[in-house]
């Protein structure tokens, strides 16, 4: 079930360089939304909506965190508290949640970090949240992750804060210790490819959230194709409807 309407932005915060957090009052969307889904936002003056992952699911509100990547997201970032935002939401196939899992690892790379937060809220102290950023000034959401009770591990490419290196290093260490029931990840494709390989090697269930240029957002136009394998057959799945979350073993990188 999804809806399209204009919803009130109840709070707007700049949480990083060119990164904004909106809290949006949208009771029917919030009730239907699950972690891993996205919202499709209209940018005034643009033909295509912009898909943005859900970073928080409240009783009556959703939180989204997005980065200005181009003119469309810059237009969305001009909206202010009290303004209406045109959303088609909630869309897509989210993460598989399992209340019986004892230990999960959540991995976010850069602006792929926000969709990990609802998972941290769900798994709480059973989660280890690994976040990777370019440098200290790009770091977002670490306090939010700590509040969920999840253990947090921070990495930066240049070592300006946290561990100097990629998110895959702490993942390898955790995998070597054993006891991980699932890995969930979102971020750049090379990062996801490496995570998928580590999980496969260690026999760990792994789901990844993908991104692709998109038009309709609901599976009608077939714009956001993604090469996958299902039942031993290669086929083009669509990130908006079959994803954005896929079992990592199905994705052909």
């Amino acid at each position: 079930m999804y809806f399209q309407d204009k919803y009130r932005i109840v709070s707007k915060k700049a949480i990083g360089r060119d990164i904004y957090s909106f809290e949006i009052y949208c009771p029917e969307v919030a009730k239907a939304a699950v972690p891993g889904q996205f919202v499709h936002i209209r940018a005034n003056g643009f033909t295509l909506r912009r898909p943005i992952s859900i970073c928080g699911i409240g009783e009556d509100t959703l939180r989204i965190v997005f980065e200005i990547r181009g003119e469309g997201t810059a237009e969305i970032a001009r909206l202010n508290e009290g303004d209406l935002i045109d959303m088609l939401a909630p869309l897509g196939h989210g993460f598989s949640l399992d209340p019986y899992l004892k230990k999960v690892v959540l991995i976010g790379g850069g602006i792929g970090t926000p969709p990990m937060l609802p998972l941290a809220k769900y798994y709480g102290s059973r989660a280890v949240a690994i976040s990777g950023f370019r440098n200290a000034s790009a770091v977002i959401l670490q306090e939010d992750f700590k509040k969920t009770g999840a253990e947090t591990i921070l990495c930066t490419d240049d070592g300006s804060t946290g561990i100097h290196g990629f998110v895959t290093e702490p993942l390898k260490e955790l995998a070597a210790k054993g006891g991980i029931d699932a890995v969930y990840a979102c971020g750049p494709m090379p990062m996801l490819k490496n995570i998928a390989a580590i999980c496969k090697e260690n026999g760990i269930f792994c789901e990844i959230s993908l991104e692709e240029r998109m038009a309709c957002g609901i599976g009608a136009c077939l714009g956001c194709a993604c090469r996958t394998v299902r039942n031993d057959e290669e086929y083009f799945a669509h990130v908006c409807k079959d994803g954005p979350v896929f079992n990592a073993e199905e994705v052909l990188f």
Binding site: M1, Y2, Q4, R42, F46, T47, L48, R49, G72, L88, E212, R213, M214, A215, C216, G217, I218, G219, A220, C221, L222, G223, C224, A225, C226, R227, Y235, F236, K241
Partner: protein, 303 residues
């Protein structure tokens, strides 16, 4: 309330608005937002003889007041369409235009032949897809090829046959006359205009296919001009499309000569666009005291 119904090639449409092929799939996704019977018709996703996987991603790019696509006719094949999608659509009280395509005139005819035993209302023959290497646009850009594929499909179908024309030609009116002479019952236009965008940071085209079909409000004036030229060149009905995003746009295209109007990229901006456009057309007609939408078809008074 104005009378919005139109008749095209003997097929009744309760209003002139039809989501264009490719933007609407087979209707299931949009039915979660509004009932399909609010539409005049539905042009289904272009269907070929066998399953096609389409092009590699990215398939979509934004352009000023529009977009590019290079989906490449991804579809499950005509048998799946006839077994699964068509029976469902035929229960929806809406005219169904089965959009078909193929790599050769023979393949197009084979697809049309399979539809002959169904209750589909119309066949829309796509001779203008810019995103597949063989067929598609190749048929649509020469009068001889356009006529040949039309003739072959005409031979095997008694359904009303609409031929969808490419704007990527020197004279679309000449192509329209050729397909009319070859037996087309109507023409629909315009398909997308071939375009390209380059990511200047990487030097790579944004589309993996390098080029793709452009649509959206930016192409609307071209659609108006081409519909007008074609409507003046042929006696068969014209179904207009290209950048329509409001009731006023649809009225304008009908004044240029369109008997019905397809809506494409606008649905990506506003998923309710086809339904809103019907309401806006009604408001316009009422405000002008025009009793029937048919009364505006081709009424432009050129200087």
């Amino acid at each position: 309330m104005a009378d919005l119904s139109v008749k095209v090639c003997g097929v009744d449409f309760k209003n002139p608005i039809i989501p264009a092929s490719g933007v609407f799939g087979y209707g299931r996704e949009y039915e979660k937002l509004f009932p399909l019977n609010k539409l005049g018709g539905i042009a289904t996703k272009g269907t070929t003889l066998h399953l096609r996987t389409g092009n590699l991603a990215p398939r979509i790019a934004e352009t000023p007041a529009g977009m590019l696509n290079s989906v490449g006719l991804q579809n499950p094949g005509i048998d799946h369409f006839i077994e699964t999608e068509l029976p469902y659509l035929l229960t929806k009280d809406v005219a169904v235009l089965a959009n078909i395509a193929g790599s050769t005139p023979e393949e197009c005819a084979q697809v049309a032949e399979k539809l002959e035993a169904t209750d589909v209302h119309m066949i829309e023959l796509n001779i203008s897809c810019p995103n597949v290497k063989q067929g598609g646009a190749a048929f649509g850009t020469s009068c001889e090829m356009a006529a040949e594929v039309t003739r072959q499909v005409r031979k095997v179908t008694t359904k009303p046959l609409v031929v969808k024309l490419s704007p990527n030609v020197t004279s679309i009116a000449d192509i329209a006359k050729s397909v009319e002479a070859a037996g087309a019952d109507a023409v629909s236009l315009i398909n997308t205009l071939l375009g390209m965008r380059i990511d200047i940071n990487t030097g790579r085209p944004i589309l993996r296919n390098n080029v793709g079909g452009m649509s959206g409000p930016a192409v609307f004036p071209i659609a108006v001009r081409m519909v007008w030229q074609v409507a003046n060149a042929v006696k068969i009905p014209v179904i207009g499309m290209g950048g329509v995003s409001s009731g006023r746009d649809a009225i304008e295209l009908m004044m240029a000569g369109a008997s019905a109007v397809q809506v494409g990229a606008a649905i990506f901006t506003d998923p309710y666009a086809p339904v809103r456009i019907v309401e806006e057309m009604n408001e316009f007609l009422d405000s002008k005291g025009i009793a029937s939408v048919c009364d505006i078809i081709g009424t432009v008074k050129p200087w």
